[in-house]
């Protein structure tokens, strides 16, 4: 019994850190636990959350994807460019955005798997290229005047839950299912845990890697669609630094950067910690300079609590 509690703690230490954060915030700010604010947190977390689910695949694969922020922007402007009112039905911009994202991810995966170049450097290249492509595509200007049906994706509610939150939840379920219940998921863990051993076991790791990065790209594209529809414009300079937020969520959630270990559940907690932190510090009106220090400390603290076994 006692042992089980200990196991739970050491496995879900990050959950404790999260709870502590929640408790502190709700004591400090009466507005924090209100329904609308909880929805705010979830909605604000959803974009990073969607990206972070994709990042989880990539990091379990012992890789990393620095390009997600730029790919998000590229997908956002491509999608938005098909979303002007009266031009195409709403599924066209959605498919265009998802395709753009997946394609970038696919290319990342292809180069990493086939040329055996460090994911860090490949996706760093893609980060610059996708950003440049977004700027060239739009000439540097945001794509504006989007159709109402497109803008609904980010702005409307279903049963008083914001649509981005619903999309996020669906992504979490599918991602979690893929990783934990399918052969592909096992191969992701195997490839990331020990690539040589995976190959020796007859797993075609290049396929797994390509698919993993494609998923990350797909989800970055999806996040780009949600984001552009939420702010009703597709900006080529959006999404900067999102890769770091996503990686932070994944790592705070206990996924190891060296690969082979990790869960979507952890990632979600990680993303929520970041979301709660951003929201709470704003509620408390902590000065933006101090916010940065506090955020850095909370991240370190959360990870330390988690790793202290």
């Amino acid at each position: 019994m006692r042992n089980q509690a200990f196991q739970f703690l050491s496995r879900y230490g990050i959950l404790i850190a999260f709870m502590m954060l929640i408790i502190v915030m709700s004591v400090l700010s009466p507005a924090f636990l209100k329904f609308t604010n909880v929805m705010n947190i979830l909605r604000q977390t959803s974009i990073n959350g969607i990206v972070a689910v994709g990042m989880t695949f990539v990091i379990i694969l012992a890789g990393i994807d620095l390009s997600v922020g730029s790919v998000l922007a590229l997908a956002a402007v491509v999608a938005a460019s098909f979303a002007h009112p009266g031009e195409y039905p709403v599924f066209v911009p959605i498919l265009a955005g998802l395709f753009t994202g997946s394609l970038c991810g696919f290319i990342n995966g292809l180069i990493i798997a086939k040329r055996r170049i460090a994911p860090f450097i490949v996706t760093l290249g893609m980060m610059t290229i996708a950003r440049g492509a977004a700027l060239v595509y739009t000439n540097g200007r945001p794509v504006i005047e989007l159709s109402d049906s497109y803008n609904k994706i980010g702005g409307k509610y279903v049963l008083s839950i914001p649509i981005p939150v619903i999309i996020f939840i669906i992504v979490v379920f599918i991602g979690s299912f893929l990783l934990s219940k399918t052969v592909f998921g096992r191969h992701v863990y195997a490839t990331g845990g020990n690539k040589t051993a995976a190959e020796l076991s007859g797993i075609i790791t290049s396929r797994v890697i390509i698919l993993g990065y494609s998923i990350a790209g797909f989800l970055a594209g999806l996040a780009g669609i949600v984001l552009s529809s939420r702010v009703m414009s597709g900006s080529p300079s959006t999404g900067q630094g999102y890769e770091l937020d996503a990686i932070a969520a994944v790592v705070i959630g206990g996924t190891r950067l060296t690969g082979g270990v990790g869960t979507i559940f952890g990632t979600i907690i990680g993303a929520l910690i970041i979301g709660v932190m951003n929201n709470g510090l704003d509620l408390l009106n902590v000065s933006s300079y101090l916010q940065q220090i506090v955020k850095g400390l909370i991240i370190l603290l959360a990870v330390m609590i988690d790793r202290k076994k």
Partner: protein, 286 residues
């Protein structure tokens, strides 16, 4: 005749503060158009939001032996060495849009004073609120020259209105999403709020979206700066109470003209202010 015209063709190097900013792109458009019109060869580089890049780029201009330099400074202090380099190498230099501390050493300046933009926005809000109310301020990136100066202008006005209080104050990094999320969070505190001053339109539009979603559009005024197309539309629809127009095209065209004149040895006016203009529902069409 071709060789002849090439020989006399003027080359001008221009370094922009950051070409991911729509306002700066507008300046670029005007500069390019004017350059075509005056048959000037233009070498354009992007500082990407880093003063040190601008210094490097001007050093590169010297290797290309440009005839004149136009500087659109990112940082009023950090970009200042550009002017010193131009002076040292005896290249005419025109500063455009934003200022540098050693502006007097430049041959000409075209632009608007960012403090002025802040003053105009804050004054208009003060007027609409009758000098009373709670304000949220969304700043540009910390330490950016425009953020510093616009904040100074805003504070200058607000300090003269003791009943106007800034209750929220954060940086939104010129970004619409950040403006949106800041506002969502502030609104959930339930504190009474009368107006939002955003230091650019993107952030103002984000904040406006959050206010609209919360149904408090009637109670909270939002003002931006820059007058980008999306913002003008929002002003027309009454979603933003106003924006402050800065004449990017006018600045760009004039700066290039002055640079050409300097190359030709003609005299020019040192300081050329192009005033800001408040755009409200009344004058938005013009």
């Amino acid at each position: 005749h071709n060789t002849n015209s090439k020989k006399t063709r003027i080359t001008i190097g221009i370094t922009y503060q950051n070409l991911q900013n729509e306002f700066v792109i507008n300046i670029q458009d005007a500069v390019r158009n004017k350059a075509k019109e005056l048959n000037v060869k233009l070498i354009e580089v992007d500082g990407q939001g880093k003063a040190e890049n601008q210094i490097s780029q001007v050093e590169n201009f010297l290797a290309l032996d440009v005839d004149a330099i136009i500087l659109n400074p990112f940082d009023q202090y950090g970009s200042a060495p550009v002017v010193s380099i131009a002076n040292r190498e005896k290249k005419p230099i025109v500063v455009i849009n934003a200022v540098v501390v050693n502006l007097d050493k430049a041959d000409a300046y075209v632009g608007s004073n960012d403090q002025e933009a802040g003053r105009i926005a804050a004054t208009y809000i003060a007027k609409l609120l009758n000098g009373k109310g709670n304000i949220a301020l969304i700043r540009g990136p910390n330490g950016h020259s425009a953020e510093i100066q616009r904040t100074e202008g805003i504070m200058e006005v607000l300090n003269t209105h003791p009943d106007m209080k800034i209750i929220f104050d954060q940086s939104g990094n010129w970004d619409r999403t950040q403006g949106l999320e800041l506002m969502e969070n502030w609104l959930s505190t339930g504190k009474p709020l009368q107006a939002v001053i955003a230091q650019n339109d993107e952030m103002a539009l984000g904040a406006q979206k959050a206010i609209e979603a919360s149904g408090r559009q009637k109670d909270i005024l939002v003002i931006g700066i820059d007058a980008i197309p999306d913002a003008l539309r929002a002003v027309k629809e009454g979603k933003l109470c106003a924006t402050v127009f800065q004449d990017a095209r006018g600045q760009g065209a004039l700066a290039l003209e002055l640079a050409v004149k300097l190359c030709e040895g003609k005299p020019v006016e040192h300081t050329n202010y192009i005033p800001f203009q408040l755009i409200t529902k009344e004058n938005v069409g013009k």
